[in-house]
């Protein structure tokens, strides 16, 4: 997968901006902060380094799935026409950002920082990083070497990281750290909020399942909400009721049939969702000794 941006030389970049994002309640506020040419060069190197890391990870990312468990760094992507990345895409698409030079006066309120670039072909790139180390004013003392002796640095220091968590171009959001993406785009809250919409959508294909208990459970349990979001993206057309019942029974998920309607108790909601999300399966390599597995992460082969 290619990046719609040219990382040639810093001098070829015609615009570099820096900004921070603050989470205030349920809202995210983003402002630009003027920086000098030295900081801009560092930001460019960070973005370039991030893309190099993504490229060296194989450059064949899969689409981000909210139900998956990812490692600390896993190159995945979200297409530009989705909704999960709308916070970072809004920053990417903003015409002129509001400027606030004093935004760094309250580092404890900063949730993430970002850089926006425009290359010589007028292609836009936005790089975003969760502000963990950046959010200090470092408590420890920093010493600088001045006139062959070490001195304490008196100024406030904000430390940039080595790379970014996300790169946003015109076609996709490229994610290096999925957990940071979930934090920055507030996915946890949004996935919980999308439970009823996801259930409504899934019901259209699985009208023989009573999702009442599932919806109630998933509304307060984030992992169940993630599974619902993931299931909603699966191919649900043609799921057979008998095969679903058989898969549940084979993998130890207790369901009840009331007429033709499949119901599940709260205790077995997670197992039921794992079956629907193709994460729970039985292997019969040893005759008469079925083994059951749960896959934290799975990729379809065919």
């Amino acid at each position: 997968m290619n990046l719609i941006f040219e990382f040639d030389e810093f001098d070829d970049i015609i615009v570099t901006e820096f900004g921070v994002g603050n989470k205030i309640g349920n809202r995210v506020e983003c402002v630009g902060i003027p920086v000098d040419i030295g900081v801009k060069k560092v930001l460019f190197e960070m973005a370039h380094g991030t893309w190099n890391e993504m490229w060296s990870a194989g450059n064949h990312p899969v689409e981000y799935d909210p139900g998956e468990k990812y490692g600390s760094t896993d190159y995945v992507f979200v297409p530009a026409d989705g909704e999960m990345d709308d916070i970072v895409r809004g920053i990417h698409d903003a015409n002129v950002l509001r400027i606030d030079s004093g935004a760094l006066n309250k580092p404890e309120e900063i949730s993430f920082y970002f850089a926006r670039f425009i290359d010589s072909k007028r292609q836009h790139l936005t790089a975003v990083r969760r502000a963990s180390r950046f959010k200090g004013v470092l408590k420890s003392s920093i010493m600088s070497f001045v006139n062959d002796s070490l001195k304490i640095v008196e100024d406030q220091v904000f430390r940039l990281d080595n790379d970014f968590d996300l790169l946003v171009d015109s076609e996709a959001t490229h994610i290096l750290r999925p957990s940071a993406f979930e934090f920055i785009c507030q996915l946890r809250q949004r996935i919980l909020g999308a439970v009823s919409a996801n259930v409504r959508s899934i019901r259209q294909y699985l009208s023989f399942v009573d999702f009442g208990v599932v919806q109630k459970y998933a509304s307060i349990h984030p992992r169940a909400a993630r599974y619902l979001a993931s299931i909603n993206k699966q191919n649900l057309a043609g799921i057979d009721r008998r095969e679903l019942v058989k898969s549940c029974r084979d993998t130890g998920v207790k369901i009840t049939l009331i007429g033709d309607i499949v119901t599940v108790s709260e205790k077995h909601v997670m197992g039921f969702l794992e079956v629907l999300d193709r994460r729970r399966y039985e292997v019969n390599l040893v005759p008469d000794s079925p083994e059951r597995f749960r896959a934290g992460s799975r990729r379809r082969i065919t």
Binding site: V15, D93, N95, V96, R122
Partner: protein
């Protein structure tokens, strides 16, 4: 930038002089007020060029502020120029009035009314960004100083940021 926009007034006073103060002091003060603010403004321009403090601005709707030059001329320049400074009270009153004008220029973002821009054949536009519902973009108007004779909706302009509300498209 506000004091820079009053540069013609200070130059006129330099030529006119005053009976209240010795010429050497009055002329020196007026020349300093005429030159130094503009020098600071050009120093600011050199800083933004060095830092590549540029933005790519998409134009929504625009107003050409040529008419404000006339307001400036008749409401500010000429009355102040014609003010007599024959005694100290009149001089202090004039200074207070000038302070009000400076404050109003700053408060209303009128500091782009500057003859220097016109001398270098720049036009001054008030630009309104496109209405796109983006929650992170500035939706209020800002000033664009440009050599372009017209600006159309959708035009992309690469301009240096002189301040949070003033951008300059340098040649």
């Amino acid at each position: 930038m506000v004091f820079s926009s009053l540069c013609p007034l200070f130059l006129l006073w330099t030529v006119r002089g005053s009976d209240l103060f010795p010429d050497v002091y009055f002329v020196a003060a007026c020349l300093a007020l005429a030159i130094l603010p503009s020098a600071v403004m050009f120093w600011r321009v050199s800083i933004v060029k060095r830092n590549k403090d540029r933005r790519l601005i998409v134009v929504g709707t625009t107003d050409d502020q040529k008419s404000h030059i006339l307001s400036y001329l008749f409401a500010i320049l000429l009355p102040f120029y014609r003010t007599e400074m024959n005694d100290h009270r009149e001089f202090i009153a004039m200074c207070v009035a000038l302070a009000f004008i400076v404050f109003l220029f700053w408060w209303l973002n009128l500091h782009y009314i500057n003859v220097i821009f016109a001398l270098f054949r720049y036009h001054v536009y008030t630009v309104y960004p496109p209405v796109d519902g983006n929650p992170y973009a500035v939706h209020g108007a800002f000033v664009l100083i440009s050599h372009r004779r017209s600006l159309n909706q959708g035009d992309e302009v690469m301009a240096y940021r002189l301040s949070n509300t003033v951008y300059w498209e340098l040649r």
